[in-house]
């Protein structure tokens, strides 16, 4: 896949980047060959470099005319600049539209193979989702004038809404894509509100009108009803076939306001994204909110107060295209010798050394909503996994990493993710791009405790503490109250499923906040959920009980007081540290019972009886018993049976070495893994 990427638009890109892609591709091989592979590739690059260059320049000449060696960016005053994002529910065709826009404006050549050009990760293409925001500057001629349209492609899932909100802050308008067949879905609503609250101009685009069951009229009515946008404002397109895509560009020019920044003002830029490049350090994506920036300028990061010299800057088309300058209202990249992603803090303000400016408000840092333990399947892979994690988190700073260890699973980490999809995508990337085999424990959410003990408050330096690991759960006696994270969930479903869905929501301690019909058959419901209730299997359950028709999305809704308690799991009275969980009081019994049952199945019978108990403090709330073996001896063992018998016993003896002992109870490691790991779908 990486190779085909090189072929299709390699011409417009500095070859170095491709080689990097190539290198990453190589590292996917088994980790122990990693070093060798790297060396070989570097070596090959040295040899091949001239070849690539020639290839590059020849291609550039026959390539589109807009692709001049150096573009004079001063030719694009703010009046002829439009900055916009595309937002949509998963699968509504956002990336396909982006491909068409890129083709129409000559940023990439038109071929059948342009599929989700901006989705560069394997996981993005496989799952048809966008995980990482990408930027592309397009040149578009309209009524004799050339406009600079900066498209900031955003991820489609709410887990990545922090990326959406970042991108939105660099825009003046958005294209809100809705599938002509499926209509408004839960994420459409979430994304709409992000743009609406940022006071952006919203252009509704109804996509996939070529589908047999497309009903654009119905969707227009939904849009009118839910978003209060007149039906006439919708553009009906088929991104796949290219129908009316030109009109989208025209409407972007006509309807979206230009940025209001002045190039006469002192230079001021917002860092809205950053990438890490092994050769050149941090590549920061910036939006200029005033003034201009030239190569060689000395700039300062407001966040760290550090100064940098601009080595390179330019447009993203979508590959880096160096220019001499960038002006107010424009969007591009800058490389300024920053060595760590942390130096290019997302939301940071950059300004000229000589002209101090007021820093932009920035963004709230992405907050981990879901935590899970991650351990190498084989402990000898620990360091390989660690280096894979380090590499992956370089480009995804939203993942929090804490070292953790478990007696059952060995050394590992507790990772914090923005949401479940984020977690899945991260794991998939780890497996695909780094060939790592990991055990992931069932996800948990961060609880909070308001401390009452003066001593503890002093110890922590604050009254409110966040609890990520159940082992750190403070006792009831030193706590004023516990808080659990809440989310506002949006469910959109055909009305046939309302009853069923309401009952599962009720079971999950959810409180209904709102319910409206968005058309004759579809209902939008809002529920306030404890996050803990949806982290594991809610989405799958919802999908299966609605035959796949219901969509679900959620947004952070702060914390709420909750009666949560720590539940221990005991084997013959001895607590099993790694199975301690935090549960809501009302759920303790069912959670404890389920855990005991799973353990009962997972632990083999032994010579004595084993009590598997769930306990709150000293009170046992659930119990299962693993009965003792009364007989375990092979009935028949003569000369011909010895070999087989010895083999079996030796295997058992080997297995015994891998047992974890809780008191005298032998527990196979698999047993913990089965209890701890997420249930496979």
């Amino acid at each position: 896949m990486q190779l085909s990427l090189i072929k299709h638009h390699g011409c417009a890109t500095p070859f170095l980047r491709h080689l990097l892609d190539f290198r990453v591709y190589q590292t996917r091989q088994r980790s122990q060959y990693c070093n060798i592979a790297c060396t070989v590739i570097r070596h090959r690059w040295m040899k091949r470099a001239p070849v690539f260059c020639t290839h590059n320049t020849t291609n550039k000449m026959i390539s589109t005319q807009a692709d001049k060696e150096s573009i004079d960016m001063s030719k694009f005053p703010v009046e002829r600049i439009r900055n916009f994002s595309i937002i949509a529910h998963v699968d509504h065709g956002k990336s396909t539209l982006a491909d068409r826009l890129l083709e129409l404006t000559g940023a990439i050549t038109t071929t059948d193979k342009n599929k989700q050009v901006l989705d560069k990760l394997q996981v993005e293409r496989e799952r048809g989702i966008t995980v990482k925001a990408q930027t592309a500057s397009l040149f578009y001629k309209y009524q004799g004038q050339t406009y600079l349209l900066n498209l900031i492609d955003t991820p489609g899932h709410v887990d990545f809404s922090y990326e959406v909100s970042r991108s939105i802050s660099a825009c003046q308008g958005v294209l809100l894509i809705v599938d002509a067949n499926q209509g408004i879905q839960a994420q459409t609503v979430a994304n709409f509100y992000l743009a609406f609250e940022a006071q952006l101009t919203i252009i509704p685009v109804i996509n996939k009108i070529d589908l047999k069951n497309a009903d654009p009229e119905r969707v227009e009515k939904q849009i009118e009803k839910v978003f209060d946008i007149p039906t006439e404002e919708c553009i009906r397109i088929s991104a796949k076939l290219g129908t009316n895509v030109e009109q989208v560009l025209q409407e972007v020019v006509k309807r979206l306001p230009p940025p209001t920044f002045k190039k006469e003002d002192p230079f001021k830029a917002l860092v809205f994204d950053s990438n890490f490049d092994h050769y050149r350090g941090v590549v920061a994506n910036i939006a200029l909110f005033g003034g201009y920036l030239s190569k060689g300028d000395r700039i300062i990061s407001a966040y760290l107060g550090k100064s940098y010299e601009v080595n390179e800057l330019g447009l993203l088309r979508p590959d880096e295209h160096p220019t001499d300058r960038l002006y107010a209202g424009q969007v591009g990249y800058v490389i300024a010798g920053m060595k760590e992603v942390k130096e290019a803090q997302i939301g940071d303000t950059l300004y000229h050394q000589k002209h101090l400016v007021e820093a932009l408000p920035g963004f709230k840092p992405a907050k981990a909503m879901v935590f899970a333990g991650m351990y190498p399947t084989d402990q000898s892979d620990y360091s390989a996994l660690r280096s894979a994690l380090e590499k992956l988190t370089l480009n995804d700073s939203s993942v929090t990493v804490q070292r953790d260890s478990s007696l059952a699973l060995g050394a590992g980490w507790r990772l914090g993710f923005l949401g479940l999809l984020h977690m899945e995508v991260f794991n998939q990337r780890l497996e695909q791009e780094y060939n790592a085999s990991v055990i992931v424990t069932a996800p948990t959410v961060p609880y909070k405790a308001i401390l009452s003990s003066a001593k503890l408050i002093k110890e922590h330096g604050k009254e409110e503490i966040t609890i990520v690991n159940p082992a750190q759960f403070p006792d009831r006696s030193v706590v004023k109250e516990y808080l659990e994270p809440m989310v506002m969930g949006t469910i959109i479903t055909p009305d046939d499923y309302i009853g069923k869905i309401m009952s599962i929501c009720l079971n999950r301690r959810a409180v209904q906040k709102n319910m409206v019909y968005i058309d004759d058959h579809r209902v939008m419901m809002k529920y306030l959920f404890p996050l803990n209730e949806i982290v594991v299997d809610f989405y799958d359950l919802l999908k299966s009980m609605s035959s796949g028709y219901a969509s679900f999305d959620y947004e952070d809704a702060g914390y709420q007081v909750a009666h949560v308690i720590k539940m221990d799991i005991l084997l013959n009275g001895k607590p099993v540290e790694e199975l301690t969980t935090i549960v809501h009081k009302d759920r303790a019994y069912s959670a404890g019972k389920a855990m005991c049952e799973r353990l009962q199945d997972a632990i083999p019978r032994q010579m004595f009886e084993i009590a598997v108990q769930a306990a709150i403090g000293s009170k046992v709330i659930a119990r299962e018993t693993i009965k003792a073996y009364k007989k375990n001896v092979l009935a028949k063992c003569y000369g011909g049976d010895i070999t087989r018998k010895m083999k079996l016993l030796k295997k058992q003896a080997e297995g015994k070495k891998k047992m974890r002992y809780i008191g005298t109870v032998q527990v196979p490691k698999d047993a913990f893994i089965n209890v701890l790991k997420r249930k496979d779908k």
């Binding site: 032994q606 010579m607 004595f608 009965k627 073996y629 009364k630 007989k631 375990n632 001896v633 092979l634 009935a635 028949k636 063992c637 003569y638 000369g639 011909g640 010895i642 070999t643 018998k645 010895m646 016993l649 030796k650 058992q652 003896a653 297995g655 015994k656 070495k657 005298t664």
Partner: protein
């Protein structure tokens, strides 16, 4: 291609390597003496008759339904292989012979006689040596018993299995309870005090009460030896499939445990002393042949799929080998005709490997392993040294499952039923002790 070539080359190379290394470790240390186990001039002999008239529904043993009468070839090959292995082992005395199967009572009595003659011709086979034949209690089998007796057999082991005709049908046996009773009576007439019956519990639909009743019935007609087996569902058998499909159900583990305990109790009450996990004897009528397995003595295995454990002195070797003969009768016949034997696999037993077998087999005996017996195989490391310091062993002793005292190591009455749960612990301790000892010796270098 390359890979195929490599494996082809490696196959025998590994074999040689293993042999070599075990000899080296023997030579480097003073363990050389151990590699040659005690009584290597004696062995027992197992002869496998692979044919059955029909397949029992629970049996996955190595047996075949014969396509044609090939008694003559079988006779020739059994004799030939016996001769070869006797020469190879250079044993001067065969202590006992056991004809198992399959259904060895299908063989001509003359075949049995000829094999025994071969044994007598090439090594010592005393008059008193126990010669057992497994007998299927069918009218045909019964009628041949006297001829078998004249052929040299002096002990019969009769596969009664059950006295319930319905159950015998489910098990796919080709006899009924009437046949069984007649066969037992006839065998007792011919060999009083030397008849054993096999009986099986844990059968489909069986209850504890019916089992106890049946066992009582059986004990009132049987001789001085009883072998008690729990039906085990083996993959690939008809019974396994029937239980899988839910057509039949077998008693749960807890029920079969009760059946075992009550059988032990009943047998004891009737004067049958348990001497091994599955074997009970009255008037001292224990099976000498089987005893030699549990005592880890040498034995030769003749016939398709037979196993043996002996030192091939004839090749100049000093360490005991685990040997397996070729499984399929036709292939085995061909190999014996061509090479004189059908040995398919030879694995030299290491010092540790042999001790593991001594331990695993010995603990099946009610008397366990005496210190004297252990010392025959392990003159340097005694059982106390190996096991006493382990807290797990101490736990087992405290809970009354295992006994380690001046006599030796053995299971308690209760512990015997749980032996397989204890063995992994004991095996790990043994392994740790022996490998540590070896390392220390190697570190010190040759004396």
């Amino acid at each position: 291609m390359l890979r195929t070539f490599l494996t082809a080359v490696r196959g025998p190379a590994v074999f040689v390597g293993r042999c070599f290394s075990s000899e080296v470790s023997g030579a480097v240390s003073t363990l050389a003496g151990f590699s040659s186990p005690p009584f290597s001039t004696e062995a027992s002999l197992y002869v496998h008759w692979p044919y059955c008239l029909k397949r029992c529904s629970y049996c996955n043993f190595n047996k075949y339904i014969p396509r044609s009468d090939n008694q003559d070839v079988m006779l020739e090959c059994l004799q030939r292989e016996t001769e070869t292995l006797l020469k190879l082992s250079q044993v001067s005395r065969i202590t006992s012979v056991f004809f198992g199967g399959g259904t060895p009572s299908l063989a001509h009595p003359s075949t049995i006689a000829a094999v025994l003659e071969t044994v007598a011709r090439h090594s010592g086979l005393s008059e008193e040596a126990e010669v057992t034949l497994e007998v299927n209690p069918t009218p045909v089998g019964s009628s041949k018993l006297e001829d078998f007796l004249h052929a040299g057999v002096n002990r019969f082991s009769i596969g009664v299995q059950s006295l319930r005709d319905d159950d015998l049908k489910v098990l796919g046996r080709d006899h009924n309870s009437q046949h069984a009773l007649q066969t037992v009576a006839e065998a007792r007439r011919l060999c009083p005090g030397r008849v054993s019956v096999d009986v099986m519990f844990g059968r489909p639909g069986q209850s504890v009460a019916s089992w106890e009743l049946e066992l009582d019935e059986l004990l009132s007609v049987c001789d001085d030896h009883v072998s008690l087996y729990q039906l085990t569902l083996e993959r690939g058998t008809q019974l396994f499939r029937q239980v899988q499909k839910g057509q039949l159900s077998v008693p749960s583990d807890d029920i079969t445990a009760v059946m075992y305990e009550s059988a032990r109790r009943i047998l004891q009450k009737r004067g049958y002393l348990q001497y091994e996990v599955s074997n009970f004897a009255r008037n001292g009528a224990i099976s000498q042949h089987n005893m030699s397995y549990w005592k880890a003595s040498q034995y030769l295995g003749v016939g398709p799929g037979a196993h043996g454990r002996f030192v091939p002195h004839g090749e100049g070797d000093v360490c005991r080998e685990a040997r397996t003969q070729t499984l399929e009768p036709d292939v085995w016949l061909r190999e014996v005709q061509q090479r004189g034997h059908g040995t398919r696999r030879r694995i030299p037993l290491t010092h540790l490997g042999l001790l593991e077998e001594v331990l695993v087999m010995g603990l099946r005996l009610i008397d366990g392993i005496t210190h004297q017996h252990w010392q025959l195989f392990s003159p340097r490391a005694d059982l106390h040294q190996i096991l006493s310091s382990s807290s797990e062993v101490q736990d087992l002793q405290q809970t009354g499952l295992l006994i380690l005292d001046d006599r030796g190591l053995r299971c308690s009455w209760q512990g015997l039923a749980l032996l397989d749960s204890m063995l992994p612990t004991l095996l790990l301790l043994l392994e740790a002790y022996i490998t540590q000892g070896l390392q220390e010796q190697q570190a010190r270098g040759p004396p």
